[in-house]
Every structure is written in structure tokens, then in C-alpha cells.
Amino acid sequence: MNALLRVEQVSKHFGTRENGVTAVDRVSFGVAQGEFVSVIGPSGCGKSTLFHMIGGLVAATEGRIDVEGDAIRAPHPAIGMVFQEESCFPWRNVVDNVAFPLELQGMARAERHERARHFIDMVGLHGFERNQPSELSGGMRQRVSIARTLASQPRILLMDEPFAALDEQTRLLLGDKVLQIQQELSQTTLLITHSITEAVQLSDRILVMSFRPGRIKREIVVDLPRPRTSDAVVSPAFGAYVADIWNDLRQEATLGLAAADRRRTSAA
């Protein structure tokens, strides 16, 4: 496959060799131009660690990540990141948040505001340009962050559980927005998530990660027709994918819970 982003045998250890955790263990995959790939796995399996390594914010212990052969050692201009945590600048209103990357490029105020408005409309926040982040809901703030990243026009959109804090309905509707955006921009996207429905709804391909050490356990090609909407959620084919992935994830999630229980009892 002719991959735009390539992750090869990437591992990350935290702590010393004797006394530490392997958060990510020899992970390899590629993402082709225009493709939408999801990485799914239980909480604590190393998804955010992988996200930070691809974003160039954290160095991999082993392995290689590259964009068209250009190895990532620091944040790469081709990659735009949307973080798991709330990341709007609270001192900027919506339009100035979204225009932030354009401001860095030195674009004039009127022009960057116009460009920003385009992306604000795209994430469905028309009319909120002048609002402060504190006046928006959590889901709206996440959309501001997505619009800000889109405004930097990255070749690869990298998102870490952008909707994790939201309820299932909002999540499905925002999923529709992401689908629309992806269609409009044919945006190459790598989405990190722990929601099975979100992964099936959005992806061309899903990579299932195992719980500690975080490995890629399985790859699933989602062969549902596009364009998709959240309506597809009720189709039998959709249900079959969800059930199939849940079977895999159940074991891993159980391992994760058991590990959490052990930590609790040993702490007590």
C-alpha cells in the first residue's frame, strides 16, 4: 500500500527497563491518502501515547514513524492534532481560536477571520463566532478545536478521542459532521477512540489494540457503503461489525478492569 503516514515497529517504554511499563509494543500500520483509519482499544492501552508519538510530541523508544518517507522527530507540518482534553484557548473567542494557526502564518486579520468562518460553519457553529469558550458546551468546544486544526489545513488529521466526554447521541451527530468534513475535504484522518460505534460509523479501516502491552491485535476493513450517516447505525451490517469488534475488545477491557482492581487492592 502507498501510505501517506507510516508507523513501523513503534514501541514506547516508560520508566526504567526493569521497572516500567511498555505502553506501546511494536505497532505497525499505514494510512493512505484520503483514508479514514480508527485505532480502538480499552482505556489505558496506550492510545494517547501513540497519538503523541505520531504528533511528534513524544519520542518513540523504538521504531520509526514517517510522513512520505520523512521521519517524524518533532511536530511535523503535515500533521494536525486534536487533543483528548479540552484545548480551546479560554482567552480567545471562537473565531480567534479557529484563526490561531492562520495568525501564526501572518495572515491579515480580515482574511484569516473569513477563512476561520468557513471552518466554523463546517463544524456547525455558525453564529457563535464571537462567543467565548466558557459560553459553549463541551461538545461545541471540541468542535472549535477541530475547526482550529482544520484551519491549519493539515494533510493528516490526527484526533485523540475528541468526543470521549460526550453522550452517545451527541457523539453520533458529531460523527455525521466528521463524515461530511471528510467527504468535503477528502481529509486523511487517523482517529483514536474507545467507542465501537464511532469507529464503525466513520472508518474505512479499524485497528484494534490490546491492553498492555499495547499491540495491534487485529485489523478490520469496514465495507459499509459511503456516503454514510448515523442512520447506518441501525442496519444489520453495522450491528455485525460492532458485535465482532466487541468480542475482541471484551477480553482486553476485562484485562484492563482486572489491572485497575489489582492496583486498587494493592494501594489499600
Binding site: A74, E85, S87, F89, S152
Partner: protein, 248 residues
């Protein structure tokens, strides 16, 4: 509705004044402890006409402002430096905190020797007492900047200068202004205190004079003027903070 809160604050103040007035008139409180609030207010025109209170107000405010500005000019870079270097922070932060607790004003004879009986002595003592809150709150503000905001900056490949101007500084503005407010309070207390002690310029000297003349309403009127200085500073600072936040 914007004025509802300040208005109710003023009402409470007036009510308290009225209560005191009543208590003193009924002799629950001796006039030799506290003069009548009405007499204190009545003394103000006299202070303006005979004691040059407006000029003294300007002197004290100016000295405090100079102390505060120096504290800002020195404290902000110092805070940034201590924030940037873990080792320096570990080495110096406790000393800055200790300085904040030191009753510096008692060392005024030392400063008199160094700077003479001049406004310089007053400004320097004000500056040194105003410095610790600026440094400590600046460090606190920078350190409390959420990691994810810095990561947004890193992923967009900001230069160190851009990171400071666009993320670190705006994120720390609320804390820095808390530090400045404290700095002006500490600075003002020390400025007035030294004016009082060395009998030089400003409202402190006036309060000293009036107290020695047993002019109690005038003394309290002078103290009221000191409070007005601090209210003036707080109002200006609020405006500055709002302006800076909008521009960040």
C-alpha cells in the same frame, strides 16, 4: 444591573457608618476612640484646603505606582526565569517567599543610610515589599498553564517567543494580576508606613502630623484617603486586565 453589586456594597458601607454614628452619639463608643463618621467626612474639605491633601494623595500614589512598576519590571522576568529553570526555582522560591514575610519596614534606618531622607528610600522599601507577590504569582500562573494548551502550541510549531506571547503569558494573566494587586497593597502599606515614620511627604506624614495635633477626625480622614488610593489602583488594574485579556 452592572452597578447593582457596587451599589449594594456602598449601601452596606453607609449603613455601617450610620450605625457607628449612632453608637458614638449614644456614647456606646467614646469619641476619643473613634470620632463621629460625620466629623471625619466634614474634615475632608479642611484637609484639601489647609493640608494640601490632593498633592499628598498624588505623592503617595506616585511613590506606590513607582514601587509597583519596578516590582512588575523586575518581578515578571524573575518569575519567568524561575519558572524556566527548575533548579533556580528550587533554590530561590523559598527565599522570595521568606522575603514576603519579613517585616521589612523595621529595617528603614538601613535604607535611610543607603538612600537618604528622600522619596528614593520610600520607593525602594515599597518596591522590595511589592516584589515577592509579583514573582510568586507569576511563577504560579506560568506553572498552572494547562499542558494541553502548550501541546497545541508545540504541534503548531510555535517559536519560544510566540509560545510566550500567545500561550504562556495570556494563560498567566489572571494570576499575574492577582500578584499585582497584592503588590500594590503591600507597596502602599509600606510607602505610607515609611512616610509616617520618617515624616517625609505624602499621606503618611500628614497622618502623623494630624495625630500629633490630636486632630482625630483629620487623622481618620487621612486614613480614608489612603483607602481611596488603593481603590483608585484597583480600578485602573481591573481596566488593564480586561484590556490585556481582550488583546491576547
Amino acid at each position: 444591573m452592572r452597578f447593582a453589586a457596587p451599589l449594594s456594597g456602598i449601601m452596606v458601607l453607609l449603613a455601617l457608618g450610620g450605625l457607628l454614628q449612632f453608637a458614638i452619639q449614644m456614647d456606646f463608643i467614646s469619641v476619643y476612640v473613634l470620632p463621629l463618621p460625620s466629623d471625619i467626612l466634614a474634615s475632608l474639605p479642611r484637609l484639601v484646603a489647609e493640608e494640601g491633601v490632593l498633592g499628598r494623595f498624588a505623592t503617595t500614589a506616585g511613590e506606590t505606582l513607582a514601587a509597583g512598576l519596578l516590582a512588575l519590571l523586575v518581578g515578571l522576568p524573575m518569575g519567568l526565569l524561575l519558572h524556566r529553570s527548575l533548579r533556580m526555582r528550587a533554590a530561590f522560591e523559598p527565599w522570595v517567599a521568606a522575603l514576603a514575610a519579613a517585616p521589612l519596614i523595621l529595617a528603614y534606618p538601613l535604607f535611610l543610610v543607603l538612600f537618604g531622607r528622600s522619596p528614593a528610600t520610600i520607593v525602594v522599601i515599597g518596591f522590595i515589599s511589592a516584589l515577592p507577590p509579583v514573582v510568586l504569582k507569576t511563577i504560579e500562573g506560568f506553572a498552572a498553564t494547562r499542558r494541553v494548551l502548550l501541546n497545541v502550541g508545540r504541534s503548531l510549531r510555535l517559536t519560544p517567543g510566540q509560545e510566550f506571547r500567545k500561550i504562556l503569558f495570556p494563560a498567566a494573566i489572571p494570576q499575574i494580576f492577582v500578584g499585582l494587586r497584592l503588590a500594590l497593597v503591600f507597596g502602599l502599606i509600606n510607602v505610607v508606613g515609611v512616610e509616617f515614620l520618617i515624616n517625609l511627604g505624602g499621606l503618611g506624614q500628614l497622618i502623623n502630623d494630624l495625630a500629633e495635633r490630636y486632630d482625630l477626625p483629620g487623622t481618620w480622614g487621612g486614613i480614608l484617603c489612603v483607602v481611596l488610593v488603593s481603590i483608585a489602583f484597583f480600578t485602573v488594574l481591573d481596566g488593564c486586565e480586561r484590556w490585556l485579556r481582550r488583546r491576547a
